[in-house]
């Protein structure tokens, strides 16, 4: 409601988009808008220019490569992921997307927006780190790729810097994934979340909502005690807020991490 004044650009190619982003200090991409417009309503922060990505068909697709890598365009919406036959190659994706907010938000909100906003309560940052995802970032200098664990650099901050645009999310093949969260009400905002992947050597377990960025832990086994021990060993210093104290979050981190791994094991078997 009642946003601050803002400039608006609607490029039709990624090149144009990164050009506008680079040439205006304070320009931000507008993907699904389900976070940034809310922030603007509160006038807590104000970008100078919104760069509307809706015409960038290059960012839309969901494709399954021959090697099993799933490539999501940054503008793929949650609903598109849920409905996509290709995305079922990694079924956890659709399952987690179906838990995000509500139909309206899932219809507009995008995978790229979810991870670029990197609100600690978002579902996808921990999930994508667990899945060993690689992000492709475009700028006027060309493209670069960043592994998910390096992509998230702080609350609301990612490796996609000024003048850069996340274009693709590449998820390697795999099926042994799990996700668990304690949320405010059913399918509500996460209080603590955890994603786990058992593909590869040791389990990759990632805890959300406990730090500015998702926290990756590598337990030495997939049994509950090993997972809980690893999470304990991460010495988390989670924030306290109205929904959970730091202690409670620390405790939940262990519980949901163990549950995420358990679900991953069930799926794999």
């Amino acid at each position: 409601m009642l946003l601050p004044e803002v400039g608006y650009a609607r490029p039709s190619t990624v090149d144009e988009a990164v050009h506008v982003l680079a040439s205006h200090d304070g320009a931000r991409p507008l993907a699904g808008g389900q976070t940034i417009l809310n922030v603007m309503k509160s006038r807590a922060a104000a970008p100078d220019v919104l760069v509307d990505l809706q015409d960038l068909d290059e960012l839309r697709g969901i494709e399954l490569a021959a090697d099993g890598t799933l490539v999501l365009g940054a503008m793929a919406t949650y609903s598109e992921v849920i409905a996509s036959a290709e995305a079922r190659a990694r079924p956890i994706l659709g399952e987690v997307c179906a838990q995000i907010a509500d139909v309206q938000v899932r219809n507009r909100g995008t995978v790229g927006g979810n991870i670029c906003s990197n609100d600690p309560t978002n579902h996808l940052p921990p999930l994508l780190v667990a899945l060993g995802t690689t992000m492709t970032i475009a700028s006027s200098a060309g493209e670069r790729t960043v592994p998910a664990e390096e992509f998230f650099v702080g609350v609301y901050a990612t490796a996609a810097g000024p003048g850069e645009l996340l274009t693709k999310i590449s998820i390697p093949a795999g099926k042994g994934d799990g996700f668990a969260a304690v949320t405010i009400g059913k399918d509500g905002t996460c209080i603590v979340s955890a994603a786990a992947s058992l593909d590869g050597d040791a389990p990759r377990v990632v805890v959300g909502c406990v730090h500015g960025v998702p926290v990756l832990v590598r337990p030495d086994g997939a049994d509950e005690e090993a997972v809980r021990r690893a999470v304990r060993g991460a010495n988390l210093e989670p924030p306290s807020d109205v929904h959970a104290s730091a202690d409670y979050r620390r405790h939940l981190a262990e519980v949901v991490a163990a549950r995420a791994v358990q679900r991953a094991r069930t799926r794999r078997s």
Binding site: M1, E5, V6, P11, H24, V49, V103, Q104
Partner: protein, 159 residues
């Protein structure tokens, strides 16, 4: 690349319930304010300022969205359906009638958004289960009914 130079506002052409409107809007104007204040289509409501309540839900090119989380400039060229477009003339459609018959509304403030969510759901799933109904209206807050009769009304249409 002058075409992509940022602008503070622009003229948009939007089709709402079959009627085409052309208006000059500021870039910062949300679609809900555009509908309510510029087009005087006051059926869609505002119940929050964080995108949680769903009172402003409309169909946007056939897809259910919250019109408070979309800029009017983004909607340039789009086709929108709102509660005002549901009835055939003065004849309430089946869903509207079911809401009445089941007492699925009290104050009526959430009703327009709720009807649009139910409309989207029934188009996608003509015979939804109760869980699907609840999931379909999860983004719409009602403070009067506890959702009991809303669920019943939608169920009766999909039966």
């Amino acid at each position: 690349m002058a075409a992509t130079a940022p602008v503070g506002g622009k003229t948009v052409t939007v089709r709402v319930n079959g009627t085409t409107y052309e208006r000059e809007v500021e870039a910062r104007r949300l679609l809900i304010h555009f509908l309510r204040d510029d087009l005087d289509l006051t059926g869609s409501h505002v119940g929050c300022d964080t995108g949680n309540c769903g009172a402003c839900s409309v169909l946007y090119d056939g897809t259910l969205v919250k019109s408070c989380m979309l800029l009017a400039v983004q909607a340039d060229g789009a086709s929108i359906e709102t509660v005002e477009g549901l009835a055939e003339g003065d004849e309430l459609n089946d869903l509207q009638q079911a809401f009445g018959a089941h007492h699925a509304l009290q104050c009526g403030y959430c009703t327009p958004g709720m009807l649009m969510s139910a409309t989207a759901l029934l188009r996608e799933k003509p015979h939804p289960t109760e869980d699907e109904i609840r999931k379909g209206i999860q983004g719409n807050i009602c403070r009067c009914t506890g959702y009991v009769n809303i669920v019943e009304a939608i169920k009766s249409v999909g039966a």
